[in-house]
Amino acid sequence: MTPLRRVRPTGRTLDHKGPVTRWRPILLLAGLAGCLALLCLLSLALGALRVPLGQVADTLLGHPPSRMVDNVVWTVRLPRTWLALATGMGLGLAGMLMQALTRNPLADPGLLGVTAGSSFGVVIAVGLLGFGSLYEYVWFAFAGAAAASVVVYLLGRMGRSGLTPVKLALAGIAITALLNSLTSAIVVLEPDALRRYRYWAAGSLADLPGDVVKNVLPFLAVGAVLALACAPALNSLALGDDVALALGRRVGLIRLQGVLAIMVLVGASVAVIGPVVFLGLIVPQIARVLAQWAGLGPDHRWLLPLSGLLSPILLLAADILGRVIMRPVEIQAGVLIAFIGGPFFIAMVRRRRLAEV
């Protein structure tokens, strides 16, 4: 009789704390942070005036090689990079939050009517009221976004069954269609509105005043805190409303918090850089694949920060590429995001079964 042999645990187990996967989360975060840092430096260096990386470092440390370099780096490129970081983070967080709240992987952060609301705000401000400058219409865009998402939220929670994911999505789509129709009506009838609207709609970080980032940063910070605070509750929500209730979560309150976070994050981002919501659609999908690789599973406490980290990487990459690809003409970041993110997204969809949320 042969004794039962004890099988030694190998590293290749599904156990999340196994030796192979233990280092992967740290590796992942370090890799992403490194990527982001490199892109920030490149963003400061590249553009119509090419500044060598060494000079960028000197300028940042307070020893600029020339007045011009000093000026370009501090007043043009640094604010622009900050803006890309902040709005990218906002759109990424909002995208993951939206998909978790609606339990629909096709949901983009514009689904709440936020994008349509800001488009409508821009068109109203420019077309009907005659405001031309960013400082004026950015507030209209933000107000439009806020109003639209409040209406969608209220519509979605009407009735006895409260806020269900399907109702939220459909109410969002309906309000979006309604507002888009009104936007097109104004754009078709008012050529002036079209002129401003079509540049805004392509989605760009170029030619924005440097201090605009100071205006949106408070909103984005509040939104980010709200979003990250949702994370543990979202894990319970993913199991279904009943289970979440049984686990002691206040489902309605979580949804309200999530919707508020999305409204603030997307409203502030879209008002400034235009409707680049595709970012918020694909980044969560990538984040899920990466989290799976790192053995973290569908845990929103990891997924949300991962999204918030990945999204500015993509936005910055698109922005930098847009500056160098057809110099001296700049291509809008919103356009390039689709062309960088699109093929990547498709390749990923082909590679593996995407986690259905």
């Binding site: 629909n104 992987p105 096709l106 949901a107 519509l155 009407m158 009735g159 006895r160 069954s161 269900t164 399907v166 109702k167 999505a169 459909l170 109410a171 789509i173 309906a174 309000i175 269609a177 309604l178 888009n180 129709s181 009104l182 097109s184 009506a185 754009v187 078709v188 009838l189 050529p191 079209l194 002129r195 079509r198 540049y199 709609a201 392509a202 989605g203 595709f278 659609l281 694909i282 291509i331 809008q332 919103g334 356009v335 390039l336 995001i337 689709a338 062309f339 993110g341 699109g342 093929p343 997204f345 498709i346 969809v349 082909r350 995407l354 259905e356």
Partner: protein, 355 residues
Amino acid sequence: MTTHKTATAPDARAFRLRTPPVSGLLRLRLVVVCLVLSAATFLLVCLSVTIGEFRMGLGDAFGGIVGTGDPGNVLIVRELRLPRVLTGLLVGIAFALSGALFQTMTRNPLASPDVIGLTEGSATAVVAAIMLGWHSGAGLQTLGLLGGFGCALLVYLLAWRDGITGYRIVLVGIGISWMCASATDFLLARGGQFQAQAAIGWLVGNLNGRDWAETLPLAVAMVVLVPAALGLGRLLRTLQLGDDVAIGLGTPVQRARLAIVFTGVGLIAFGTAAAGPVAFVALSAPQIAQRLGGTAWPPPVTSAVTGGLIVVASDLIARTVIPGTELPVGIVSGAFGAPVLIWLLIRANRAGSGG
């Protein structure tokens, strides 16, 4: 014919005919809704024929459509007004049916063709042509058709990997469509103001100045595609149960899905070529029909009638709301379909049946 009540659906009656040997489920509510909507659509078609520079009565309009009555009226109705109204009706039916196919196949109301952007390929092709200074006519229509089919083919090929799944085709569709939409935005931002104005006019969906040359290709395509779409309904219902169950029930899953995708794309592409991507019809019509009919999935025939009704009604409003100006129909169809869908959502919630 024998009918008896079924246990599962209270208003449904199973029926069986001896000759021809047909049996099925008759949903009374669905039939009533369908008939009422059809009657309303017919009335609206007659009504929109009466409107124009030369106003005529409802009776004259009906006479003009069927060919009796004053020859002058017949000429005006048949040559000038009917093509536009019919194009609207057909486009509405095509969009709604296509939307019903995709929404049922993927079991996701967001996966309708205008959201996953099967219209974007046509849009990019046409906007590019407009920006290059090619203005109107059959060339633009053919180009829209080619763009739509090219885009769909690309999506299908990219989604193919040991067969396709409904979910994968939707996601790949979203990726491709965002790329097309970005290209369109880029072209719009770079082009001249005049061309941008023309392109926007096309992009929202437009029925202005349609004649038989635009109606006929659409009508011919629909004669083929609509029966195909309705015939696919049975397969669709087994596909809804998931691939494994569908295979177990003897459904040729891959071939059925290919047929569904191409029928849906064909309907959308021909519709878009004739009238541009009329906003929101493909999404809202099946959802509205589903809620009116009280079914668990978008009912194909009722969806089609609802779609026709929405576009014809929208066009009627678009032509009359601002005297002297003809708005593009897409502006109204979004503004008109959205409140209806919202109202239905609220009503469904009150009844406690959820979204």
